[in-house]
């Protein structure tokens, strides 16, 4: 009995009921997160013209910086895809390696974002400067908080399971963390389009 049960299934993340529940529950959570971010996007779009006397989007945003950040996050999305493929292949080492790479790219993104906020603050856009400032920092900051949480989560998993091999328990944990990471990228696609590109272009 025990022998066949421990061979690698095609979908190790969904091989147990716990895994299936976690997978589905996480998708539902992401459905709710969509509304959370939509509320922040809506608030930003309502207030983006309300710059009061503080600098506005066109005075602040640099497309080069945002482009680099976008590329970092997009690539990290791909590396996390590779991590899942490694997991399904049964290559634990591959999975760990791709996940660390994802974390590294995420940290790079976060570094740029912190630099960016520091820079804007320096240019006179404090959190309390205008309604635009509050809504911008809240929207992008909430995304940044998600990135931070995602990095913390993945690092926790990587350290906890550094020698465990792929198991039925940690497969679904890694998989949901990867789903979360993709979702962060999905939100960023709208942020770079709606906040930065429309901020500079319109």
């Amino acid at each position: 009995m025990a022998q066949p049960a421990h061979t690698l299934p095609a979908h190790p993340e969904k091989a147990t009921l716990e895994g299936k529940n976690k997978y589905l529950g996480f998708w539902f959570f992401l459905g709710g997160e969509t509304v959370l971010f939509a509320s922040l996007f809506g608030t930003y779009l309502a207030l983006r013209g309300s710059t009061a006397d503080a600098p506005g989007p066109a005075d602040l945003f640099h497309l080069e910086l945002v482009f680099i950040m976008t590329m970092l996050l997009l690539t990290s999305s791909l590396t996390s895809v590779f991590a899942v493929i490694s997991m399904k292949k049964g290559s634990f080492k591959g999975m760990i390696m791709w996940m660390w790479l994802t974390v590294a790219l995420g940290l790079g993104f976060l570094g740029f974002e912190i630099y960016e906020f520091y820079e804007y603050n320096h240019l006179g856009l404090g959190y309390t400067s205008s309604a635009f400032a509050s809504s911008f920092y809240s929207l992008v900051g909430t995304h940044g908080a998600h990135v931070t949480f995602g990095i913390g989560w993945i690092i926790t998993l990587l350290i906890r399971y550094r020698k465990a091999g792929i198991t039925l328990t940690n497969a679904s944990k890694f998989y949901t963390a990867v789903l979360y990471w993709h979702f962060i990228d999905v939100v960023w696609v709208f942020i770079f389009t709606v906040v930065y590109l429309l901020g500079v272009g319109a």
Partner: protein, 610 residues
């Protein structure tokens, strides 16, 4: 690796750490009842203050606080948790599951709700409760003095997080954990309404989270969202609040619809008429619930086209609701109706709720709404749907499921006295308020002048409220004196659905063997076409159970600590609270806990063989 059995625990520790959906359900229900009592006392204070013109019973500030707390507590901390109690207890039983999908998260959701609710009530002792109404519209809320509104924001944020978790939990439970043969279209209607309600929670609560977040950022961290001088816009808050708020009122009514469907078909001894129409009506109500929020904002000045669209969408809701009303009536038609207390509440619900529905359509006409807005007409309307719908549903469910939950039957004699007093008191209180509104009494005022024609109607309304309070005392007495009715508690109503196939008290594993479902009304089918016992879908085997955990309480207290940090702007406290919270998440993440197994011998000993 999992242990073979759970360690022995003391009773208190067992309840504090439990992840059993039945115990959590009971705790939800009792905590809800506790807050219901508090909010009921607040309602009495309001009615005493308004009994006579220019009363000085409560001061104006106190009146505002009591009014705010009454609304907030009733909706978030009384009605919803009591429904959650029934959902938690009954839904897994109705679909033949051993537990919910995420037992740990279930417990976390409960403790977050409870701690959030308690946090909100701490405000009474720290210099003033919130005073900006249950809607906390900006800029009234952003400019409110003291910490009251901060307590409102954080209390609801914490308990809202718990609600969201519970919603996801129910959804996954219903999708993934139905017993063999229990297809979606064989689920009892209460399970269906739990499902749709949970969907509403999933998509509505994030909007509230953001609305409260913006309030918090403005009040505590100097944000400018609602600061007109810096380009803010207060209408944003109204939108966010009602994008949440309108689905919220459907979160409160849909479970009641499910309860009435169960109660009416059980006591009419008939299969529910138009089951599939009922399911689709529930889904349509859920869908339309997200399309109509701006009817709370007709007088904001969105413009005539916007008002017209939301008016039409709102009126459309009358159609699926009407379908439901007719289906209940046709279920009763030709049935052998038993007038138990539970059924009396269900029967009284139909005309009461129709009254509330009709005034709802009246309010939906945006032009007419300019007259009704912010008058007692609105107060009468929403009390008719919330008491005549949700509260009647809660009481029907209380009498219906009490034997299964607590192991004794509530007395029918006392129950009927309670019912009639409550019903008459309710109509006496609120029917007259329609006319109070029409003659021009504004809502949310602490007092009124003599000679405006409000006196008699307010007095009648207050007398009705006293009657409801007396009725509630009869319920409390009933709960205490009926404890000896411990006979006939397994299936007292000759039930139709799976929860009545379990033992009373329900074993911790619910079903010794996963049941096989052969039709809608699974138990009734077996009573008619089988031997009255549910067939098993699997051989008797060890049962896997999750371990309890104390972490949910610690996590919830961590968030309460952080909330105090925000309320009093003590950043160290925020950091400490978040550290506790994330620390618990970290521990939970790295500590694999695979639960334990109940051996076959133990299951047999508990009388589980069939």
């Amino acid at each position: 690796m999992s242990n073979s059995s759970a360690a022995q625990k003391s009773v208190v520790w067992d309840w504090l750490t439990t992840v059993d959906h039945k115990k959590i359900g009971i705790m939800y229900f009792l905590a809800g009842l506790f807050f219901f009592t508090i909010a009921g006392i607040e309602a009495m204070l309001i009615r005493i203050q308004l009994m006579f013109p220019e009363m000085a019973f409560l001061g104006e500030q106190t009146y505002n606080e009591v009014l705010t707390m009454h609304g907030t507590t009733m909706l978030f901390l009384a009605a919803m948790p009591m429904f959650f109690g029934f959902m938690n207890f009954v839904t897994p039983l109705q679909i033949g599951a051993r537990d919910v999908a995420f037992p740990f998260v279930n417990s976390l959701g409960f403790w977050l709700f409870l701690f959030g609710g308690l946090l909100l009530h701490v405000s009474y002792f720290t210099g003033g409760a919130p005073d900006a109404g249950w809607t906390a519209y900006a800029p009234l809320s952003t400019t409110s003095e003291g910490q009251g509104v901060d307590y409102y924001i954080l209390g609801l944020q914490v308990s809202g997080a718990g609600t969201l978790m519970s919603g996801i939990n129910f959804l996954v439970t219903i999708v993934n954990m139905r017993a063999p043969g229990m297809s979606m279209m064989r689920m009892p209607l209460f399970t269906w309404t739990t499902f749709v309600t949970s969907m509403l929670i999933l998509f509505a609560f994030p909007a509230l989270t953001v609305g409260l977040l913006l309030l918090m950022l403005d009040r505590t961290f100097g944000g400018a969202f609602f600061d007109i001088g810096l380009g803010g816009n207060v209408v944003i808050y109204q939108h966010l609040f009602w994008i949440f708020g309108h689905p919220e009122v459907y979160i409160l009514i849909l479970p009641a619809f499910g309860i009435f469907s169960e109660v009416i078909s059980t006591f009419a001894k008939k299969r529910l008429f138009g089951y599939s129409a009922m399911v689709f009506a529930t889904m349509i109500i859920g869908f339309l619930g997200f399309m109509v929020w701006a009817h709370h904002m007709f007088t904001v000045g969105m413009g005539p086209v916007a008002n017209a669209i939301f008016a039409v969408a709102t009126m459309a809701i009358a159609v699926p609701t009407g379908i439901k009303i007719f289906n209940w009536l046709l279920t009763l038609w030709g049935g052998r109706i038993k007038f138990t207390t539970a059924n009396l509440f269900a029967l009284a619900f139909i005309p009461s709720f129709v009254l509330g529905g009709v005034t709802g359509v009246q309010l939906a006409m945006s032009a007419a709404d300019y007259q009704f807005h912010d008058t007692y007409f609105v107060v009468a309307h929403f009390h008719y749907v919330i008491i005549g719908g949700s509260v009647f549903g809660i009481f029907a469910a209380t009498f219906y499921w009490w034997p299964k939950m607590f192991g004794y039957r509530l007395g029918e004699g006392l129950g009927k006295i309670f019912f009639w007093l409550f019903l008459i008191g309710f109509h006496l209180t609120f029917f007259i308020q329609h006319f109070l509104g029409l003659v021009g009494m504004p809502r949310r005022v602490a007092s009124y002048l003599d000679g405006q024609g409000f006196n008699e109607m307010n007095l009648i309304s207050s007398l009705g409220a006293f009657m409801m309070a007396v009725a509630f005392i009869f319920l409390v007495v009933n709960v205490i004196v009926s404890r000896k009715n411990t006979t006939n508690v397994t299936d007292p109503w000759d039930g139709r659905t799976l929860e009545w196939a379990t033992t009373t008290p329900v074993q911790e594993f619910n079903f010794a063997q996963t049941p096989l479902i052969r039709d809608l009304d699974a138990l009734w089918y077996e009573k008619m076409n089988g031997n009255g016992k549910i067939k098993a879908a699997e051989p008797l085997d060890e049962i896997h159970m999750p371990n309890g955990s104390i972490l949910p309480i610690i996590m919830s207290s961590g968030l309460v600590v952080a909330s105090f940090g925000v309320i009093y702007e003590m950043y160290l406290l925020i950091a400490l609270g978040l550290l506790i919270n994330f620390g618990c998440m970290f521990v939970r993440s790295i500590k694999e806990d695979h639960g334990y197994h109940i051996p076959v011998s133990e299951i047999k000993k508990q009388g589980g063989e069939s």
